[in-house]
């Protein structure tokens, strides 16, 4: 009997949830640290196995498997359901999520080996919750469940960015990430509710059926899709919401690999891919998506060129690649974007984990304090190089075909503007990534000079868990331990496999079958542009034929602007401090002096009136009799006169 993929997916979904509940409720077990970590890894392994089996069971079939439970009962049909929707897209995404989650959890065993047991238990509790929420998002059959899981992954992101919460930058970054994404999420929620009002359902399958039978009311649909896009832009760090992602690098590096490179930030792309039939009805919104995506890609790529922090380079690179995916979706080829999402998930996780290995060994994020690492840590250098070549889109490496597909999609979608921008970004991508490679792994070493110094500068009072990153644990550099090396090698092998397979045989997934007619010159020119980028980086940072300083001064104003992050953060601060706070002060003044003032006046008048009136209460019975007599007289007069 063929196993039902829905049940398998459900098993996969519930294993991390079980792990989370056990770790969250059984506190003594969580505080043991290592055993809790092993338990979480075990559950993640089970989840990955179940996800692979679900994918195999789903096979080539495009018929979705639905498992639904009523959540909010309504009249006639239920208002909202929870459950799993298993189709080719969600199973592939599920595999990616469980795979990266598993590898990151294994990697963290080595990376966080200096963490006290309590912290380690807490870390794995969050990791389990994140795995569950992300899988719930991926498998979600309706927008309501998707939104809930969306918020849950946001919460996990907040918790994990702020994992080293005694460090002020980490706490700040966590809050910043939370609020910036919330800004988009408000739009998302409004979009869902508006969609429900016009369509009467949250269910993706029903919505799809309505779109296909053209029964969905088109009035106001642009606003709905734009609102949904806002949510996706917040999560997927599109301009101007991209500001949170580089700061999110304050979290532990494995967290950056899992949440801020491979899975959570791609949730926005996934959402747009899932609802691409809805967006297809609103071409004006799609145009915005494409242009904003291309612009984000360019902006982030330029920013990545001037960063010295290895994780920030990777973070901006992620923003840039998310811009690529969004642009492809905007061009109407969401499958191309989704394909890039998958390959990017593999090689970006690889790059982050590689960077983590470097940081673990060197004890700093600063690439100017690295150099010559290839001799000391050859395996790390090789896997990092594989990731870099994948990102640059070189043939036989992971990102090659997916990047070509996106460029082809832009061309086929009739968007020459974003196409040109993305070509430029392809050049910049190759340049900034190889800048990191040459500065960190080749050339003269700058490690020794800064080595002991960093440990010394750790403040003694908060030195316990407040390391910037886990410090160097031995004076000589070497490749990371097996628990960290294994995930690196797995991801490198997968990136290579995807690259070779897709270069030689064709797209890995049937859904991506060439749906666009790219001109013949596209592939050579895209690869050529990347190679030029690599060459420029080589000449500048390896051979020193071009002086990096003169290169920098050639782009003086752009460089200054990029170092200031194009003032986007400042714009946010300006809006907050000047506009919002001023408005808040005006509102506060109005409330204090006008609204409260009227109330205080009324109450003061009442008091005075009461005070004045009590003087007629003399307490003397004769006065009252006098009053009664006058009253009776008045009544008599009134009756006589009227």
């Amino acid at each position: 009997m063929r196993t039902d993929p829905g049940t398998l997916a459900l098993v996969s979904l519930l294993l991390p949830l079980a792990s989370f509940f056990v770790l969250a409720i059984v506190a003594p077990f969580r505080r043991l640290g290592r055993p809790a970590a092993y338990f979480s890894v075990l559950c993640a392994t089970g989840a990955f196995a179940a996800a692979v089996m679900a994918w195999l069971a789903q096979g080539e079939s495009t018929i979705p498997t639905l498992h639904l439970w009523e959540w909010l009962p309504g009249q006639g049909k239920s208002l909202a359901t929870v459950g799993v929707l298993v189709d080719p897209d969600s199973t592939v995404m599920l595999m990616l999520v469980t795979l990266v989650a598993l590898l990151v959890q294994v990697y963290s065993l080595g990376y966080l080996h200096e963490e006290p047991p309590k912290g380690l238990g807490r870390y794995y509790t969050y990791q389990s919750l994140f795995a569950f929420s992300m899988m719930g998002l991926v498998l979600s059959p309706n927008l309501l469940q998707l939104f809930m899981c969306w918020e849950l992954v946001g919460l996990c992101s907040y918790l994990l960015i702020g994992f080293w919460y005694p460090k002020p930058e980490a706490a700040r970054a966590a809050v910043k990430a939370f609020w910036t994404t919330k800004l988009g999420d408000v739009g998302f929620l409004i979009g869902i509710v508006l969609l429900w009002r016009s369509a009467g359902t949250f269910d993706l399958t029903e919505l799809h059926a309505m779109v296909q039978s053209s029964t969905l009311p088109l009035a106001g649909l642009s606003i709905i899709t734009f609102c949904i896009y806002l949510g996706a832009a917040g999560k997927s760090a599109q301009f101007p919401f991209h500001v949170w992602l580089p700061d999110a690098m304050e979290g532990p590096t494995p967290v950056s690999a899992l949440i801020h490179a491979a899975t959570m930030v791609t949730a926005g792309v996934y959402l747009l891919h899932r609802t691409s039939w809805l967006f297809a009805l609103t071409p004006d919104v799609l145009l915005i998506v494409a242009w904003v995506g291309a612009f984000t890609a360019l902006l982030a790529a330029v920013l990545a060129c001037v960063q010295d922090d290895i994780k920030r380079v990777l973070a901006y690179s992620t923003v840039s690649q998310l811009g690529y995916m969004m642009a492809a979706i905007g061009a109407g080829f969401s499958a191309a974007g989704f394909f890039h999402l998958l390959t990017h998930g593999l090689f970006k996780a690889l790059l982050f984990l590689g960077a983590g290995a470097v940081i673990h060994a060197v004890g700093t994020n600063d690439i100017s304090k690295m150099g010559g690492l290839a001799r000391k840590m050859p395996i790390t250098a090789i896997v990092f190089l594989i990731g870099t070549l994948s990102l640059a889109g070189i043939p036989f490496f992971g990102g090659y075909l997916s990047k070509e597909e996106i460029l082809g999609a832009m061309w086929a979608g009739g968007l020459p503007g974003p196409f040109a921008v993305l070509m430029l970004v392809a050049f910049l991508t190759a340049f900034y990534m190889f800048r990191v490679v040459f500065l960190a792994f080749y050339g003269p070493s700058h490690v020794a000079a800064s080595h002991g110094e960093l440990v010394m500068t750790t403040p003694p009072d908060e030195g316990k868990i407040v390391h910037d990153q886990p410090g160097p644990h031995s004076s000589h550099l070497h490749d990371p331990p097996a628990s960290m090396l294994l995930p690196l090698l797995t991801l490198a092998a997968l990136a290579m496999f995807v690259g070779i397979y897709s270069t030689l045989i064709g797209p890995l997934l049937p859904a991506e079958a060439a749906e666009h007619a790219a001109p013949g010159w596209l592939t050579p020119s895209a690869v050529g542009v990347a190679v030029v980028g690599i060459l420029l980086a080589w000449l500048t940072y390896q051979r020193r034929t071009i002086n990096p300083e003169s290169l920098a001064s050639a782009f003086g104003p752009i460089r200054t602007a990029a170092l200031a992050k194009f003032w986007v953060d400042d714009a946010f601060i300006f809006v907050y401090e000047r506009v919002l706070l001023t408005f808040a002060r005006v509102v506060g003044w109005t409330d204090r002096y006008i609204v409260d003032g009227v109330l205080n006046m009324v109450s003061a008048w009442t008091l005075t009136a009461g005070d004045d009136l009590r003087t007629i209460q003399t307490g003397k019975a004769q006065d009252y009799v006098y009053g009664v007599a006058v009253g009776v007289l008045a009544l008599i007069l009134w009756m006589k006169l009227s």
């Binding site: 009590r614 307490g619 003397k620 009799v625």
Partner: protein, 99 residues
């Protein structure tokens, strides 16, 4: 002699009584004022009874007189008790109801 002189007399008596009730400081004086007002009512009742040829008014008057006696006995008792407790029988000193 018609009904009117009787009514004028009773009204005058009522007003005198009311004036006494309102102006007298001594509580016993107030009780006397009340007595005058009740008697003006009695005159009214008897006058109407006489001119309407009905006995009901006279019967009522008999009731009123007896009730008045009881009321006076009670009122004087209260005044005496008040005097014992407060050492005064002046109405304007008794202002416990003052707001």
């Amino acid at each position: 002699m018609g009904l009117q002189p009787f009514l004028v007399l009773s009204s005058a008596l009522f007003c005198i009584g009311l004036f006494g009730v309102i102006t007298r400081r001594n509580t016993i004086g107030i009780l006397l004022g009340i007595e005058l007002m009740l008697n003006s009512v009695n005159i009214n009742l008897v006058a109407f009874s006489r001119f309407n040829g009905s006995v009901a008014g006279m019967v009522f008057t008999v009731f009123t007189i007896s009730i008045t006696v009881a009321e006076m006995a009670l009122g004087l008792a209260i005044v005496i008790l008040l005097f014992r407790v407060r050492r005064t029988a002046m109405a304007d000193h008794l202002d416990l109801l003052k707001g």
